[in-house]
C-alpha cells in the first residue's frame, strides 16, 4: 500500500531468549485506528513497542511516510513524530501541566507557547482544574487523562495506545473510551490501539488484528472478525461460535453468547 503512513515489513522481536513476535507485516494509514486484539501473552504489547521503535528488531523494517527507521530516519526523529500511552500513566515528578508540556519542552518549545498548546488539551480532557496539582495526588482516572493529554498535545502522526484503560474501573473506563473516540474522530492521526477488550476495540477501531503467540491470525473490521472468524482458534479468542470456513471444527458452542454480549455493549458504549 503506497499511501500507508506507517509500514512495517517482516518485523520480528526476541524477548528473553524466545521469539515474542514472528515476522509480521503491519500497515496504518492517516486517520485510521487499528486495533490489536488477543489473549494475554499473545505479543500485543511487543508488537506495539516494536512499531513504536522502542524494542530492538531481529528482522524487518519500519517506515514512516516512506522513510525507513534507522536508515533515513533516526530513532529520535521518529519518536518526535509519534506519541505513546501505556497501561500505567508513567507520570514524572511535578505538576499535571509540567507533565503534559514535557514532550513539547523536550522539543525545545518555549514556556509561553507550551502553555498555549497545553491548556486546550487539558480543557478537552477535562483536567484543566488539575493543572497545578502534583501528579502524586491524582486518582487513577485523572492520571491516565494526564498521560493521554501528554500524548495528544504533541499532535503526533501516530498515536500508540497500549491498553490505556485496563487499570481503570468500569465507569471511568467507559467515559474515557467515549471521550477518546470523540478525540480520534476530530484529530486526523493514525492510531494503534492494543486491547484485550473487544468492546473497546469495537468502539474505537476501524480495523482489528487478531494476534496469538506472536502471529497475526486475522485482520478485518471488528464486526468482521467477530462475525466471521477464519479458524477455530480465532473464534475462541473473540468468543464467537461461528467459523467462516468449515475446515475449523471443535469450537466450544458455549462461547457463542459472549460475542452477542460484546456487540450489545458496543452500542451501550457509544451512547
Amino acid at each position: 500500500m503506497t499511501n500507508a503512513l506507517l509500514q512495517a515489513s517482516g518485523i520480528s522481536v526476541c524477548r528473553g531468549g524466545r521469539v515474542a513476535l514472528q515476522p509480521t507485516d503491519f500497515v496504518a494509514r492517516t486517520g485510521e485506528t487499528v486495533g490489536i486484539y488477543g489473549p494475554n501473552g499473545a505479543g500485543k504489547t511487543t508488537l506495539l513497542l516494536a512499531l513504536a521503535g522502542l524494542l530492538p528488531l531481529v528482522s524487518g523494517t519500519i517506515a514512516l511516510a516512506g522513510r525507513v527507521l534507522g536508515r533515513d530516519l533516526t530513532p529520535l526523529a521518529y519518536h518526535r513524530r509519534i506519541a505513546a500511552v501505556f497501561q500505567q500513566p508513567l507520570l514524572l515528578h511535578g505538576t499535571v501541566a509540567h507533565n503534559v508540556g514535557l514532550g513539547l519542552a523536550l522539543r525545545g518549545v518555549g514556556r509561553y507557547e507550551r502553555w498555549a498548546r497545553v491548556e486546550p488539551v487539558l480543557q478537552q480532557l477535562r483536567i484543566a482544574h488539575l493543572a497545578d496539582r502534583n501528579v502524586g495526588t491524582l486518582s487513577g482516572g485523572e492520571a491516565q487523562r494526564t498521560s493521554l493529554a501528554r500524548a495528544l498535545v504533541l499532535n503526533p502522526e501516530i498515536l500508540y495506545l497500549d491498553e490505556p484503560f485496563a487499570a481503570l474501573d468500569q465507569p471511568t473506563r467507559r467515559r474515557l473510551v467515549r471521550e477518546l473516540a470523540a478525540v480520534l474522530r476530530t484529530q486526523r492521526m493514525a492510531t494503534v490501539f492494543v486491547t484485550h477488550d473487544l468492546a473497546e476495540a469495537s468502539a474505537l477501531c476501524d480495523r482489528c488484528l487478531i494476534l496469538d503467540a506472536g502471529v497475526i491470525l486475522q485482520e478485518g473490521s471488528p464486526k468482521e472478525v467477530v462475525d466471521r472468524p477464519q479458524t477455530a482458534r480465532i473464534a475462541e479468542i473473540v468468543g464467537s461460535e461461528y467459523v467462516s470456513n468449515d475446515a475449523a471444527p471443535g469450537v466450544d458452542p458455549s462461547l457463542g453468547s459472549r460475542a452477542g454480549a460484546i456487540l450489545d455493549s458496543k452500542g451501550d458504549l457509544l451512547t
Partner: protein, 240 residues
C-alpha cells in the same frame, strides 16, 4: 592508673572541656583542619558523582558481556580496603612511578583521587539499584516522548534524585571518616593534607587528647548529620 581513679577522669573531663573551647573559640588550627577535611571529601564525592552516575546509567541500561562482573566489582568496591587503595596509588605516584611526573604525592589532590576511588563504587551501585527500582516502561515512555539520550538521563535522574542524594551522602560519609588512604597519600602535612582523621591519629599518639577529642566530636557530628539526613530523606521518600 586504674580506670576508676579520680585523676584519670578529671584529666579526660578537662580534655573534653578544652576540646569544646577549641571549637567554640574558633581556634584557627582546629577550624583549618575541619575546612580541609570538608573540602577534600566534598570534592572527591562530587567528582565521584560526575563519573559514577553516568556509569551507573550505562551499567543499568546496556547489555554487554561482563556486565555482571562489573556489577560484582562495584559490590566488592563497597569493601575496598582504604589502605590498599592508598598503597596502590602511592606506588603509582612515586617519583619514578607511572604517575610520578604529576608530582601529586603528599598533596590534597592525591587524597581527592584516593577518596574518589573509594566513593565511586558506592555511588555507581546505589545509582544502579535506584534505576532498577523504577518501572522499566518509564524509560520507554520518556523515549517515546521524544527525549534524546541526555534528556533521558536528565529526566530519569530527576526521578531518582532522592536516591542520588542518599548516594552522595553515603559516599561522603565513607570517605570523610576514612584514615588509611588519607594518611598514606596526604602524609598529614599541617595546613595542607592534615584532615580530621589523620589529625586524630597524630594527636592521640602525641598525647594531646583535647585536640584529638575536638576533632573526634566534629567527625561524629558530621557523620551524625549525614546519617540523620539519610534517614530523613528515606522516610520522606517513602511518603512521596
Amino acid at each position: 592508673m586504674g580506670a576508676g581513679s579520680w585523676d584519670y577522669w578529671a584529666e579526660i573531663g578537662q580534655g573534653f572541656a578544652d576540646a569544646v573551647l577549641l571549637l567554640v573559640t574558633g581556634d584557627p588550627e582546629t577550624w583549618g583542619i575541619i575546612r580541609q577535611s570538608l573540602s577534600i571529601s566534598v570534592s572527591a564525592t562530587l567528582v565521584s558523582m560526575v563519573f559514577g552516575v553516568p556509569l551507573g546509567f550505562w551499567i543499568a541500561y546496556s547489555r554487554f558481556p561482563g556486565r555482571g562482573l562489573l556489577l560484582a566489582i562495584c559490590n566488592t568496591g563497597f569493601g575496598l580496603p582504604p589502605v590498599v587503595v592508598g598503597l596502590v596509588l602511592s606506588i603509582l605516584l612515586l617519583r619514578h612511578g607511572p604517575l610520578g611526573y604529576l608530582n601529586l604525592r603528599f598533596t590534597p589532590y592525591a587524597m581527592v583521587i584516593g577518596q574518589f576511588i573509594l566513593s565511586m563504587p558506592i555511588i555507581i551501585n546505589l545509582t544502579v539499584v535506584a534505576l532498577q527500582q523504577l518501572d522499566p516502561k518509564l524509560r520507554l515512555q520518556i523515549k517515546a516522548l521524544g527525549a534524546s539520550r541526555w534528556q533521558t538521563v536528565w529526566l530519569l535522574s530527576r526521578e531518582i534524585r532522592l536516591p542520588l542524594l542518599v548516594a552522595y551522602m553515603a559516599g561522603f560519609g565513607a570517605v570523610v571518616s576514612e584514615v588509611g588512604a588519607s594518611q598514606m597519600l596526604g602524609g598529614n602535612l599541617p595546613g595542607s593534607t592534615r584532615v580530621l582523621t589523620t589529625a586524630i591519629v597524630m594527636e592521640t599518639g602525641m598525647g594531646h587528647y583535647d585536640r584529638a577529642m575536638a576533632y573526634g566530636i566534629v567527625l561524629l557530628l558530621l557523620v551524625a548529620i549525614v546519617v540523620g539526613l539519610l534517614t530523613w530523606v528515606q522516610q520522606s521518600g517513602g511518603r512521596r
